[in-house]
């Protein structure tokens, strides 16, 4: 029986960290440590002697982990970005999902693959959630700007709301632009004119 793998997850957001840990522990038996604090990150990682380190591609602290890939680094066994030569797709899938994985040299692909599969699936889900949230926020912002532009037109021209919106839409169509962009330009111009 092999020792359970020790996995370090670097993630400052507790909610996201919980989602990742849940996905891993569902998959099978691992020892998972979450590091939320970025100060002295390299030392914190080394202390836990991980077989695998998982971190968001977007986290600037990732470069600190690169230091551990130096042969003369503080880890006995150098870590490397995971590349399974028998399955090139796994590394690419991880990167596309926004996940960077560092694996200690010598670990067999058979032990790494289930961990990465589970982590990749979870990162994809989180990426979708993040994209949806950003999209919702953007739509909400645009709605607000369009409302302000409508209000400006209604006051300036003394027209009702539906006419103000129709005017915005017509202008957008004539200029080949989005209604939100025309509204934005109007609000900016009105702000400049005082």
């Amino acid at each position: 029986m092999l020792d359970p793998l020790t996995i370090v997850v670097v993630e400052p957001d507790p909610e996201r960290a919980r989602l990742i840990v849940d996905a891993l522990t569902d998959a099978t038996d691992y020892r998972v440590h979450v590091i939320a604090e970025r100060a002295a990150l390299a030392r914190q990682i080394v202390q836990r002697k991980p077989d695998l380190v998982l971190i968001d591609v977007a986290d600037p602290s990732r470069d600190v982990i690169e230091e551990l890939t130096l042969a003369s680094g503080p880890l006995d066994r150098p870590v490397a970005l995971f590349v399974d030569r028998s399955d090139e797709g796994l590394s690419t899938a991880a990167i596309e999902a926004g996940l960077s994985a560092y694996v200690v040299d010598g670990l067999t692909p058979a032990r790494v693959k289930p961990v990465l599969d589970a982590a990749i699936a979870r990162f994809r889900l989180m990426q979708r959630m993040r994209a949806e949230l950003a999209e919702t926020k953007r739509a909400l912002e645009e709605r607000k700007v369009i409302d302000r532009a409508k209000g400006l037109l209604m006051r300036a021209r003394g027209i009702p709301e539906d006419e103000a919106y129709a005017l915005l839409r017509r202008t957008a169509m004539d200029q080949g632009r989005r209604v939100a962009d025309v509204a934005e330009a109007l609000v900016t111009a009105a702000g400049l004119l005082g």
Binding site: R38, A39, A40, A42, V57, A58, D59, P60, S61, R62, D63, V64, I65, E66, E67, T69, L70, A71, S72, A80, L81, F82, V83, S91, T92, I95, E96, S100
Partner: protein, 390 residues
Amino acid sequence: MRAATLEIGFVPLVDAAPLVVAHEMGFAAEEGIALEFRRAPSWSSARDALSFGQVAAAHMLAPVPVAMALGLGGGGAAIDAVSVLSVNGTVVGVSTALADRMRDAGHEFDFTDAHAAGRALIAAAPEPLRIGVPFPFSMHAELVFYWLSALGRPSPQSLSIRTVPPPLMADAIRAGEIDAFCVGEPWGSKAVEGGVGELLLPGCAIWASAPEKVLAMRRDWAEAEPDLSGRLIRAVWRAGRWLDTADGRSLAAELLSRRAYLDIAPDLIERALTGRLIRAPSGQSQTAPRFVAFHEGGANFPWRSQAAWIGGQLAARTGLDRRRAVGAASSVFRSDLYRAALKQTAADLPAASSRVEGALGVDSSVAGVRGQTTLWRNAFFDGGTFDPAL
């Protein structure tokens, strides 16, 4: 005809300027290509985006492709440097507490004398001296190693070089995790603005012409797409030439300050571009000639000997075989692809592709492909030289 779109990775730094300018000033469009930028949050992610095929080319630390060729870091396809984007542009800074100790001991912070600055630093610093750099494979790390080793502070017993992401550098100094740093702009100036650090030396005081960032491509892509990669090399070369004009510099500060690029105030960017730096939180300014170059003095030529120097340095501190490392390194700076791309332009190309690094004590006129070409001095502060053939 519809322009071919190339995705380009970059890290938000002042020296991403040639790529930004190639796009914004129309040099890319002139070559029939459109650039689409992907801002990278770290050097490792920029490298991986490139080697795993998410972008066609990237703004890259000169030592990264060399490190990959030596099997250090990275796991995807091999990456080559097809031109040098910028020479110099880094600063060494110290915590305000350390600066005070150095001043008390009589150091004058003159910005030019790397001997005096290094000796003052060693005398005033704790043991081991802890220096933050952006990435383990960076010119920042190599310059610090070279400088302090030459002054008798050998690593790793008395010198600890640590990777600190530049946005976290000021915090690391404030928290007392590091005593000094070597970073690219605008991060040195940001540490000064934040009141946590003072600038000690520009990188060019250690090595007068250090290749800082390169235009990096996957080797297989660069070789399979000579037409596309050639267009990009030329567009970036023209952008660099434009950047090294007086008007270019101030307009570039405006371009770079935009939200899609660096998203910071243009005056902070202009310090690096003009070489007029604010040295300390007290507001004292200092001029650094040739603080960063994008074209002049043969800046863009990817000398095989520059890569060899980096390979030799990396081998020395990681225990790799030096001769093999120097050989492997030389092959990733692609002076051949650079020459082929610029053949049809007015570019002055040197006749040789390798030289003795550190040998030019003054600006020199050397044999070029069409007559003479001027190269800037490339001396090391201690007068050392590196001959890749030895």
